[in-house]
């Protein structure tokens, strides 16, 4: 039961990062062009999907609370400021999608809301991961820091890195879904973004080495982990190849592989800790009565249904964006 809910939680968070990641990335790239046709193409590439993507965040949130309430209470309160700012960013991003289409005079507000909301949400998510990796002060399962403990050089760097990562994901999604100018512009963005991500990852790596974070020891203890970065290197090569040969679907696929590698590296190096290095999954799991209650309805029936539905809706909207049929 504990393993089941850990997997569900991990899968929900991964799906959120991948799916809403490209939404947020497109949101950031949106700010880099002034061309209305580009913008409309970019919006059309994500507008039918963003709301469904965001539900994975809520799913991850309630699963965390229901199945691992000590972690929910610890992390969400320790990350008071970033969580509030992330939610505000997501609200602005979300309504900007809807109101921009209907607005004329106020369109500028929604453009700004869309870009700033996306950047803020992405940065805060990265910063939270960074603060978690660096390690939070925890005494007896309770947070022992203050409201601003999350904010430090390492977490800020992680925030920037995730922004760049999401932008990369977004650019490769635009390549996959758009044609003509919007696609070519996105192609031009992929390579620089990729190098920014790689450089930031290297900086983060040395920063972690320098600070002697506990996470590094686990890597030396488990040398087989180094297979994952190897796969990541292959993915980077795949992205560059896809860009050079203009294979529209390849970059996105390879960026997804890259993200999964990064996610797996974090997950494997933390395992079995859910809050490194103070709470393990078993310590954090709720009582059996709670997990079983969730399992027999939500876990066994609704969750698989949600997965099927997600696959279905991506099937409906596959292929290139056609602006003539869309409403943007």
């Amino acid at each position: 039961m504990i393993l089941y809910w850990s997997l569900i939680l991990a899968l929900s968070m991964l799906l959120y990062v991948l799916l809403d990641g490209f939404d947020l990335g497109v949101g950031m790239l949106f700010g880099m062009t002034r061309d209305e046709t580009h913008r409309r193409h970019m919006l059309a590439a994500v507008s039918p999907l963003w709301d469904g993507n965001e539900t994975w965040l809520i799913v991850a949130g309630v699963v965390l609370w229901g199945a691992f309430s000590p972690v929910y209470s610890l992390l969400v309160s320790a990350f008071y400021v970033p969580v509030i700012l992330m939610l505000t960013g997501l609200i602005f991003r979300g309504v900007a999608f809807e109101f921009r289409g209907a607005a004329h005079r106020t369109r500028v507000i929604w453009n700004v809301g869309f870009v700033v909301g996306s950047v803020v949400a992405a940065f805060m998510q990265g910063a939270m991961v960074g603060a978690l990796a660096k390690g939070l002060p925890v005494i007896n399962g309770r947070f022992a820091g203050d409201v601003m403990t999350w904010c430090n050089g390492f977490s800020v760097l992680c925030g920037v890195a995730l922004c760049a990562g999401y932008a990369l994901l977004g650019a490769s999604w635009v390549v996959k879904r758009c044609e003509a100018d919007a696609r070519d512009a996105a192609y031009r963005a992929i390579v620089p973004l990729l190098w920014v991500v790689v450089v930031l990852l290297i900086v983060l790596f040395f920063h972690a080495l320098h600070e002697d974070l506990a996470i590094m020891h686990r890597w030396l203890d488990r040398p087989y982990l180094f297979l994952v970065p190897l796969v990541a290197l292959c993915a980077i090569a795949g992205i560059l190849m896809g860009v050079r040969r203009r294979r529209d679907n390849q970059p996105f696929l390879m960026v997804v592989v890259l993200f999964i590698c990064a996610y797996a590296m974090l997950a494997i190096s933390f395992w079995p800790y859910i809050v490194p290095f103070s709470l393990t999954i078993t310590q954090a799991a709720g009582p059996h009565a709670s997990l079983a209650f969730m399992f027999w309805g939500a876990g066994l029936f609704v969750y698989p249904l949600m997965l099927i539905y997600t696959v279905y809706s991506y099937n409906v909207f596959k292929g290139k964006v056609d602006l003539t049929s869309g409403h943007y």
Binding site: V62, V63, S69, V81, G145, F317, S325
Partner: protein
């Protein structure tokens, strides 16, 4: 724990949850009304029902979207501001709220899509089934929220292990007697809200001399449904009062502003409660009525606030007045619904304009009644978050600083006011435009999990 941070957290939760409840109480009622409309269309085949249905489906989409957006914040606020509550009651409240989310998703995902796409693609019977499923989904969503809140009002089916509330009997939690009076009370509140909004919109069209056929259907059906629903709602309100009387005597005494034990007890209709001196200023009261309301007898003894130490009493003024505003709204709605139904049956032209104005101006009443009802329930539960188990002061995030709490409060207030001003304006525009003659066009990019998009492709109605 910092008292300023505690107060700010309470204000923030009150603000965000009050803002949120406006939308679900509207959409739950609306979904039920859409089901009725579609069933009527299937039976009578009158096109007017079809047009009214398509029109309200758009409004439903926008209001539903607003409810989802404002609800996301709540799911995280339990953790940000109330970390102790989410830690100790997580094993019970977490699963209940995750069921709420999963139920809401099921509704969004599978059946709302059919509503948007399916009019010409599925058989009418299946379409009606989908509408009913959406209504069921919103109802179930409300159900889980009410189970959760009722557990906080009257905790049952738990044991305490290491200071954490661990569920030991889910059946007791879900089938708690308190759930089964408070859930219908909320459900009927939503139905009444839907009925009054529909009737008021119909009255508005008739006053402006537009959409005559649709306006008539909305006005008549809305009033007729309200005429049946409001008395039922008053009955459930009375039953909720019974549970408060039995399980939360101090809240009951606060609502009644009864300071001392009385036998037989009088009923304070209006007064200014003075908590410092434990008395009421300028009271208007009716003897014996208090016993009759509290225990259905003429000579029962009713407990007063002074039986409880000050540290266990809720604030008096808010529950006292909020309750009276709620009951007042309920009685006015009863009058309007019954009077309006009678008059609209007789169809006297002279009195009609006054009736239309009255119905039109009544549309805020169900919202006010719902909000004040919740104020009574939640403020009356103080100083407890989980009644009798966890004090609000112990539930708040211990290290939260006033600066962070004030900052988030300002951010949320600004965001909500800004965004929901646009949302409400949007709904107003849709309502003002009225039901289009043409049937709903289904945008090819509208996906069920994007309810707001139901309305965006009709430039003819959004001017």
């Amino acid at each position: 724990m910092n008292t300023t941070a505690l107060m700010l957290s309470r204000l923030q939760f009150a603000f965000t949850v009050s803002f949120h409840i406006i939308f679900p109480s509207f959409t739950i009622g609306l979904a039920a009304w859409l089901t009725v409309l579609d069933a009527l269309y299937l039976i009578t085949r009158r096109p007017v029902y079809h047009r009214v249905f398509d029109f309200w489906l758009k409004i439903f989409g926008v209001a539903f979207g607003m409810g989802v957006v404002s609800g996301i914040v709540l799911a995280f606020e339990f953790g940000t501001n109330w970390s102790e509550l989410s830690r100790v009651s997580g094993p019970i409240q977490g699963p209940l709220l995750s069921y709420e989310t999963f139920t809401a998703f099921m509704l969004e995902a599978s059946f709302f899509g059919v509503l948007l796409f399916g009019r010409n693609r599925v058989k009418p019977g299946l379409y009606l089934f989908s509408v009913a499923m959406v209504a069921l989904g919103t109802t179930l969503s409300a159900f889980w929220i009410m189970v959760n809140n009722s557990w906080m009002q009257y905790p049952v089916g738990y044991t305490i292990q290491n200071g954490v509330y661990v569920p030991d009997d889910w059946a007791k939690i879900i089938f708690s007697p308190v759930v089964w009076v408070r859930f219908p009370h909320m459900l009927f509140a939503a139905y009444v809200t839907g009925a009054f909004c529909v009737a008021a919109t119909g009255a508005w069209y008739m006053l402006r001399g537009m959409c005559h056929a649709e306006g008539r259907v909305m006005l008549r059906m809305g009033l007729f449904l309200a005429a049946i629903l409001v008395p039922v709602q008053l009955l459930f309100g009375h039953l909720v009062g019974d549970y408060v009387h039995r399980y939360q005597p101090v809240k009951f005494a606060a609502i009644e502003a009864r300071w001392h034990d009385e036998q037989p007890a009088s009923e304070v209709l209006l007064a200014w409660p003075d908590a410092a001196h434990e008395k009421n200023d300028y009271p208007i009261s009716v003897p014996v009525l208090g016993s009759l309301i509290g225990s259905m007898s003429l000579d029962s003894k009713e407990v007063g606030l002074t039986d409880f130490p000050r540290s266990e009493r809720p604030p008096i003024v808010i529950p006292f007045f909020a309750f009276r505003v709620m009951v007042g709204c309920g009685l006015i709605m009863l009058l309007v619904a019954w009077g309006g139904t009678l008059l609209s049956l007789k169809e006297r032209p002279l009195q009609r304009r006054a009736l239309l104005w009255t119905v039109f101006l009544c549309f805020p009443l169900p919202f006010i009644a719902t909000l004040t009802g919740w104020f009574t329930a939640e403020v009356g539960r103080q100083p407890w978050t989980v009644y009798g188990l966890l004090r609000t002061a112990d539930a708040v995030t211990p290290f939260l600083t006033p600066r962070a709490a004030a900052g988030s409060l300002v951010v949320f207030c600004a965001t909500y006011v800004f965004i929901f001003a646009f949302g409400t304006y949007y709904i107003y525009k849709l309502l003002k435009g009225g039901p289009a003659e043409a049937p709903l066009h289904t945008p090819p990019t509208a996906l069920p999990n994007r309810p707001l998009s139901a309305a965006t492709d009709l430039p003819s109605t959004v001017k």
